[in-house]
Amino acid sequence: MEGFLLKPIAPHLIVIAAGCLVLLMRAYGKKTSAGASGAVTLASLVLALAASVFLHGDAAKSAFSGMVVDDNFSLLVTVLVLFSGILCVMLSFDYLKRIGIAQAEFYSLVLFAVSGMMFLGSASDLVTVFLGVEIMSISIYVLVGFNRGRMESTEAALKYLILGAFASGFLLYGIAMIYGATGTTNIAQVAEFFKTHGPSQISPLFMVGLALLVIGFGFKIGAAPFHMWVPDVYQGAPTSITAFMATGVKAAGVAVVVRVLMFAFPESMDRWVPLIQLLAMVTMTVGNIAALTQKNLKRMLAYSSIAHAGYILVGLAAVYSQGFAEKAVSAVFFYLLAYTVMNIGAFAIMILLGRDSDEYENIDDYKGLAQRRPWAAFFLALFLLSLAGIPPTAGFAGKFYVFTAAMRAGFVALVIIGVLNSALSAYYYLRPLIIMYMSDPDADIVENTERRPALIVAIGVTAVLTLELGMGLLAYLAGGGSYYEMISGYLARVM
């Protein structure tokens, strides 16, 4: 513990400071527009991204008596959540104006949520984990209900708050149990405790603590059977926040599960890997089957997000393979990245097509889209195909890596269930495609023809990345290897 104490959390501080600045701008500069707040937000997120990359050293650095750490793992999480935050802000600019909730507080809350996620990534103590979860969650509760004029939004916020508080209780209780069993909340010291005392110390007390932690995190990432809030909340929240929750919140949640399970409890892997396997199977199946009959695209994507959490858990279970743990975690990270770009892309198209306060959510609204807006239809088709996991898209590559990792761990049944689920999901991802391309548009549709450069850029970036992560063409031309190899190269140094 040497050098500048704040260096490991400098990016976090930039984001928090920007959040305060946006609030102050609003309080003192009465004429400051929401757009200016958005611009400051975007700039600060980009700055934080740059800072996290450039201030990052190769060696792990911890600070605040081992409460936070800056290592390759935290860097990946930081980049991922900042990327998700940036895209969310780009989606929000015009969307907020259109539905009449363009306020500076929105951006400041996004910034605080991002800072919470970043703390989750760099937490090296269970207390920091809880702190991060709460900073993130409380901001998100408010953001979900930000569209106060809309019933569903308020209802969603309330549900999320109640159930979230419930889950936080489990989480905190779990941390207390772990402390009781091991005498410490520091992740490295928990691992050390089991290493020195041996597996005999895996007591029922510890197991209860582990179970409660998994429950708490399972709620945050929307894993079944703790997923009931997901459809209602995702559907009620403003669309750009839904996109943010499905990607950023989920990524941070998965990151912290990996961090705690892999770094604190590697000795008890035999116990928790079967549990994760079970959760993965249930989550994939519940998400996909429920999505089949949805007629609302946003709600369908909510269920699909549950299913994707299941695929991610498949990759997490795959850490069981001896000596290839970092490959499995890399597959998880790659999947999160792929899911972030393709999912935000799909939500961006929804926002693009919405008019006034009409959210454009019903699948029937997409009738004949290919005739009316051929490019929008094309990009939505691309994102949906990627979500369905069809080559040569990012979604396919992600599933490929995750299932390969599970095969390496010997989980054949898990992979078979995963692939069957994948096949099932093709049904509901392809249905909007059929409606877009094979039916005629209703005559009385008025197009939203505003110019929305930020949104267009976001769609372009996500579309390019969807293809690039799937094929690696640009990386190949630049002489680089695959992104997956890059990630696993990073992780090999900390795991």
């Binding site: 549900k159 703790f226 009931m228 429920a290």
Partner: protein
């Protein structure tokens, strides 16, 4: 530019033609009709020039020289010892040079002719797009350096053939002729694929999975030792299986028994297509394939015997059918089937250069005949029935209706009939002699039988071709009056010679088939067989191993070579394959030479007899083929020929109908609808019902959500603590 990198240009030019014409058709921005034709013909002309240049460069290399170009590495799988790699590569050796030159130049002439023939057709852009695409595929086929590239070309030409047979697809009969060609070819292709699978399997066993010709050739001795056990049939040598399977592919593509039935129907396409695809080039792909794989077939005596026997049977069988056909194009179609039979007879007895030589001469004279028939059809305003023709080339030169068409057609007839000094005589006689003089190691006397089939076929050929020519160009004109058989009539005055753009290619082709004869062996001119010398290093290379392997008494060695090989083992490998020259130069070859001259005399006599008989019957006695109304009363033999031995009907009853009935009643109505659809729909319905029922849990009430969560908590806790 280095010669090697020019090879890819040969198929590239027609592909560019496809792009230009194809895009204009696709975008519905039709170019001027003349431009379309010029682009198409010009692209083939450039290919022909490139091929000629490479040919000249190749001739300057040593005997076994070749150009090799890897365009890109295409299929790469596995690592190290398991590496399976198929490069997209071209080889320009002496064999592919001959093929490329023939394809390009004959193709070019037919493209030029097409400009005239298709001048009135509304879809000329589509026509030339397909035709250029065909050239591209055909050139891939002959230039590819491995079986896979050959197979792309093989399938590509099949596709173009289908597209062009059904070119006038508004006519249902023409569309179904296209489908028939495609399906019959697929049956053959199945055999071809099986052959490639077996070969790949064999190559994997001996190390180095590859389908490159030179790799196969290197490994051929190892492959010879291998055997395949087919459950229920017994164990066979690998090479025999591969040889027979690949020949099944050839019977489809090259219209041999039993898969020849599509070719006569293929005449539904435009006549230049019949000339290019269904006579000169595509249908000879099977012969090229066997010659290309000569190193394999020469070690597979049984497969070679099958090739020769099927070829001989087809040669005679199709020739007899040709006697009774009345459609000018159908006669030529059966004649093509028959001539392809001769080529297979040649390559089947190990005379690869003789088979390829007949392929080349046939390309010229048959293209000339087909284009001539197209000219006649055009001159007679789309009349194809020879019972309605006649007197197109009678009277003095200035009075002749179709001066040039007639002249070239008659000379081509003499050529295909096998009269000296035309090239048809030279190449066919070479095949017959090789068939006679090459003892078969599997069945000791079968080579004499094959030769007999060939001679009988030659007689029929001479007869039906004379019949065709005399009825078309000689006698009196019969298309002028109405009758209850034919309702439309065309006055004789309206028959006219075709435009120059059409007859000039005929004359050039005529020059080709007249002069080509001097390239091949022509002992009566005491010439040297330049063609054989040119090809020997390529097509006989595989036999080198065979000579080493089996010694002078090996299977299928030409009889004449045995003595030479025994005397001089070191030189045997070369001498073996020059059976005709070697004995002539050495002592003891005198008797051989006499026998050969006798047989040659015999085949000339047979041909002359056929021509004479045909002229006597149809020219002097003016026998007329029965009109449709009289066809019922003809004799049984005539009836069998007229109905093509009812082969189509037999196939229909034995194969097509049972399959259709089984697929309709069993596969479709029971298996597909009940089992497959039932299962699929059932699974889908179940999933949807589960989804709808399950979603009732999602009631929107937050307390019940919390309750489910608690249930989940109970499960997780129980699992971790008790489990």
């Amino acid at each position: 530019m280095h010669s090697t990198s020019l090879i890819a240009l040969i198929p590239l030019f027609p592909l560019l033609g496809v792009l230009v014409n194809g895009v204009s058709v696709w975008r519905r921005k039709e170019l001027p009709r003349k431009t379309v034709g010029r682009i198409a013909a010009g692209s083939v002309f450039l290919s022909a020039l490139t091929a000629t240049y490479l040919f000249v460069r190749l001739a300057q290399l040593p005997d076994d020289g070749k150009f090799h170009q890897v365009v890109f590495s295409w299929i790469v799988a596995g690592r190290d010892a398991d590496l399976f790699s198929i490069p997209f590569a071209f080889t320009f050796d002496r064999l592919s040079a001959v093929m490329a030159l023939t394809v390009c130049w004959v193709g070019f002439l037919i493209h030029v002719y097409s400009i005239g023939y298709m001048a009135e057709d509304p879809s000329v852009g589509r026509y030339f797009t397909y035709l250029n695409l065909f050239m591209f595929a055909m050139l891939l086929l002959v230039l590819g350096s491995n079986l896979i590239v050959l197979f792309i070309g093989w399938e590509g030409v099949g596709l173009c053939s289908y597209l062009l047979i059904g070119f006038w697809f508004e006519d249902n009969e023409k569309a179904s002729a296209g489908k028939k060609a495609f399906i019959v070819n697929r049956i053959g292709d199945f055999g071809f694929l099986l052959g490639m699978f077996f070969l790949t399997w064999g190559m994997a066993q001996v190390g180095g999975m590859s389908l490159e010709y030179d790799k196969l050739q290197e490994a051929i001795l190892k492959l010879k030792e291998m055997a395949v056990t087919l459950p229920g049939f017994g164990t066979f040598p690998l090479l025999e299986i591969v040889g027979v399977c690949m020949f099944i592919g050839a019977t489809g593509k090259s219209a041999q028994i039993p898969l020849y039935i599509w070719l006569p129907d293929a005449m539904a396409g435009p006549t230049p297509v019949s000339a290019l695809i269904h006579a000169a080039t595509m249908v000879t792909a099977g012969v090229y394939m066997v010659a290309r794989m000569g190193f394999l077939y020469s070690l597979a005596p049984f497969a070679s015997t099958v090739v020769a026997l099927v070829g001989g049977l087809t040669a005679l069988f199709a020739a007899t059918i040709g006697i009774a056909q009345n459609d000018i194009k159908k006669v030529l179609a059966y004649s093509t089937v028959s001539q392809l039979g001769y080529m297979f007879m040649g390559v089947g007895v190990g005379a690869y250069s003789a088979g390829i030589f007949h392929l080349v001469t046939h390309a010229f004279f048959k293209a000339c005949l087909f284009l001539g028939s197209g000219a006649v059809i055009m001159a007679c305003h789309h009349e194809q029935d020879i019972r309605r023709m006649g007197a197109l080339w009678t009277g003095r030169w200035s009075e002749k209706k179709m001066k040039w068409t007639g002249l070239t057609f008659i000379l081509a007839t003499l050529c295909i009939a096998g009269l000296p000094p035309f090239s048809g005589f030279v190449s066919k006689d070479e095949i017959l002699w090789m068939a006679f003089s090459t003892p078969n190691s599997v069945y000791p006397t079968v080579h004499k039988f094959i030769w007999g089939l060939g001679v009988a076929g030659a007689f029929c050929t001479a007869f039906y071709m004379t019949r065709l020519t005399v009825l078309t160009f000689g006698g009196e004109y019969r298309g002028g009056e109405h009758s209850h058989d034919f309702h439309h009539a065309l006055p004789h005055e309206k028959v006219h010679e075709v435009p120059k753009v059409m007859w000039v290619p005929l004359v050039i082709l005529m020059v080709g088939f007249v002069s080509l004869g001097f390239l091949g062996k022509s002992r009566i001119f005491s010439g040297d067989n330049a063609f054989h010398h040119w090809l020997a290093p390529v097509v006989d290379a595989g036999s080198h191993e065979k000579a080493l392997l089996e010694g002078p008494a090996g299977a299928l060695l030409p009889a004449a070579g045995e003595a030479a090989a025994a005397e001089d083992p070191g030189h045997g490998a070369v001498a073996v394959h020059e059976p005709a020259e070697a004995p002539a130069k050495e002592e003891g070859g005198e008797a051989e030479h006499k026998l050969e001259m006798m047989l040659m005399g015999l085949s000339v006599a047979v041909a002359a007899l056929g021509v004479l008989l045909g002229y006597l019957v149809y020219g002097v006695r003016k026998v007329r083929p029965p009109m449709p109304s009289e066809e019922k009363s003809v004799g049984p033999a005539h009836k069998a020929l007229l109905n093509k031995y009812w082969v189509d009907e037999i196939y229909q009853a034995l194969i097509v109908n049972p399959i259709r009935v089984a697929s309709e009643s069993l596969l479709w109505k029971i298996f597909d609808v009940k089992v497959v659809d039932g299962t699929v729909n059932g699974v889908a319905r179940t999933a949807k019902e589960v989804s709808a029922e399950g979603l009732k849990l999602q009631n929107g009430i937050v307390t019940s959500y919390a309750f489910y969560m608690v249930l989940g908590v109970a499960v997780v806790l129980g699992y971790l603590i008790l489990g």
